[in-house]
């Protein structure tokens, strides 16, 4: 019966299988024929869709550390039900990022080199190490869920002892590499379009990742409620509006902070005049700011919209769209203008990216189905506090 259920074709299952099949073929080509034959990357556009997607993946996985900090450090236990999905999202997001990085590397077989060959002046080096350390943190944070499933309580005890330092380390690693993704572009002041280049890039990246990471969790709550409906026997997967509204307020605060910082940056560096210069970049910048910042801020300012699930869904999509535009504008749009060439990803680039995203969603589904991801899993601490 179970097999039949799995094999029962649904629209998205069929689409996923097609995407993954095509993606696997593309991956095969990518590794056998090289980057030149399978991508549209070239000397003037050395970074393309894959790197852009790494930016997205990391930005959208940011909830892993913000929610963990909210619950475990600031003791706001109301948000406890979000912790496990957030950590899983972060873990899967980072896995996609790492896979994409390996695909993107010219010499993927040398991926381990940064472990032994150090150049501490490189932002990329810092990011690599933060990614490694933070992924370890995520494994430690998620380990109890897996151990619980197999009734291995002994290690959980030890994990609990180190849990707070682990959470703090996770927040610090995240802070560093989230902002460092912005620092990557500090070294190209002449190349990156001034609409996006700023010495405050790391701070911009950090604030925007907080807003969009939380939006991603809100968005994901809807996906979870949609994918695991109650009438199919799933528990605790439904929307918890008071939690979502609370998170959306945090999104509002982060968006306003980001907007103020951006305004400060524009006024302080005399970049206002750029806003009235008609060019493709300017239009994309407006699109980014309006969908990702102005619309969500104005909607979220009303309690009515924060508490209406339909609007929360739309707002979270807006914020995520804003992040997609921002990260890709920085990593692709903003650099293309100065390179004097055009770049649009090749079929193989797109299919490999799509495949990894589908596999990520699939992995989330499997874990969500087989582990206690949505249980109102209360840590001992919460229980103790209640008693």
């Amino acid at each position: 019966m179970k097999i039949n259920e799995i094999l029962k074709p649904t629209f998205w299952k069929v689409v996923s299988v097609i995407i993954v099949t095509i993606g696997l073929v593309s991956t095969f080509y990518r590794f056998t024929r090289g980057l030149g034959a399978t991508t549209n990357l070239h000397d003037m556009a050395p970074w393309g869709l894959w790197i852009g997607f790494d930016f997205l993946g990391v930005g959208l996985a940011a909830a892993g550390f913000t929610i963990a900090a909210t619950v475990h450090i600031f003791h706001l236990h109301k948000y406890e039900p979000m912790v496990r999905p957030a950590i899983l999202t972060a873990f899967i997001g980072y896995s996609i990022v790492v896979c994409l990085l390996v695909v993107d590397l010219g010499r993927p077989e040398n991926f381990w080199h940064p472990l032994v060959m150090w150049n501490i002046h490189s932002v990329m080096f810092e990011i690599t190490w933060c990614l490694i350390c933070y992924t370890t943190v995520l494994i430690l944070e998620f380990a109890p869920v897996v151990l619980e499933k197999f009734n291995l309580t002994a290690p959980i005890k030890y994990l609990r002892i180190i849990s707070i330092p682990v959470v703090i380390a996770g927040v610090l690693f995240s802070t560093l590499h989230q902002s460092s993704f912005g620092s990557l572009y500090l070294i190209v002041p002449g190349k990156l379009h001034p609409l996006w280049y700023s010495s405050l890039l790391p701070v911009h990246f950090y604030i925007s990742c907080i807003a969009s990471g939380l939006s991603m969790i809100i968005f994901e709550s809807f996906l979870i409620a949609r994918a695991f409906p109650k009438d199919e026997g799933f528990h605790h997967t439904e929307l918890k509006m008071n939690i979502l509204s609370g998170a959306s307020f945090a999104v509002l605060v982060a968006l306003i902070a980001g907007f103020l910082l951006k305004s400060y940056d524009f006024i302080n560096n005399g970049k206002i005049s750029l806003l009235i210069k008609p060019s493709a970049e300017t239009y994309l910048f407006y699109l980014e700011i309006i969908t990702g910042t102005i619309v969500p801020i104005s909607l979220l300012s009303f309690k009515k919209f924060r508490e209406d699930k339909k609007w929360l869904y739309i707002i979270s999509i807006c914020v995520i769209s804003g992040l997609i535009l921002n990260r890709l504008n920085v990593s692709i749009t903003g650099l293309i203008a100065s390179s004097g060439v055009n770049y649009f990803p090749s079929f193989d680039e797109i299919s490999i990216t799509a495949m990894l995203v589908v596999l990520g969603v699939f992995a989330f589904r499997i874990v969500a189905k087989n582990f206690h991801l949505f249980e109102a899993a209360e840590s001992h601490e919460t229980v103790k506090e209640r008693i």
Binding site: G48, L49, G52, R226, E238, K240, L284, L287, L312, F344
Partner: protein, 222 residues
């Protein structure tokens, strides 16, 4: 260009999913009509949607005017679920005249009984004896009483369609704060509601008689 492309793909997938769900006859959770403040099973989407031929009285009874001049009257989704699953204990007697505001049904949540008031004047033509003692599921299919009534009665005091749904949502919201105020163990009720657990049938039993009277006054008066 790449940014716009990726964004377009993202939005396309979201839109496609909504269309796919539509084909499957389901509703996306973001757009399904349910009470946002609750994730609870008692407020399933079918509970809040109201058939178009039905009008709702502010005393949480519903009326359907039939072509035969008879009006079906029953208890609405809110009444059927407010303090747990409710079952009808008593209906007004067959063959009697009933005035607006007189008791038409008595229902019980666990060990507590509440009274529903007749929304119109009329003559009780039939009583659905099938519903007595049963828990209500599908509130709008289970009529309780057929009345012969003057259908020219002012219908403006009743609600229907979207207006009724919004009002119903609001009633659930009001109920939430009501429960919070009147449950002795506030923490417990709050937790069950927030975490999306079921409202247990014991909830009503923890209410005092005073709280039940208040509930009738707050929610069941016309």
């Amino acid at each position: 260009m790449v940014a716009v492309f990726v964004l377009a793909v993202f939005l396309f997938i979201i839109a496609a999913d909504i269309i796919v769900l539509k084909f499957q006859g389901k509703k996306h959770p973001a757009f399904a009509t349910a009470i946002p403040q609750y994730g609870s099973s008692i407020h399933d989407e079918n509970d809040i949607s109201i058939p178009s031929d039905i009008i709702i009285s502010k005393g949480h009874t519903w009326i359907k005017f039939g072509r035969d001049g008879l009006a079906d009257i029953g208890i609405d989704a809110f009444g059927a679920a407010a303090l747990g699953k409710m079952s009808v204990v008593k209906c007004a007697d067959e063959g009697k005249e009933i005035k607006k505001g007189e008791i038409i049904f008595e229902g019980s949540y666990g060990d507590k009984t509440v009274k529903f008031l007749s929304p119109v004047n009329g003559f009780v033509k039939a009583v659905n004896s099938n519903i007595i003692g049963k828990k209500i599921s599908g509130p709008y299919e289970m009529w309780g009483i057929k009345l012969i009534t003057d259908s020219k009665e002012n219908k403006r005091q009743f609600l229907s369609g979207n207006e009724a749904q919004n009002w119903m949502k609001n009633e659930f919201i009001r109920l939430k704060s009501f429960i919070e105020n009147f449950t002795p163990d506030t923490g417990l009720a709050g937790v069950t509601m927030y975490d999306g657990g079921k409202l247990s049938d014991e909830l009503a039993s923890s209410f005092t008689a005073e709280a039940i009277a208040n509930f009738e006054k707050e929610f069941l008066s016309l």
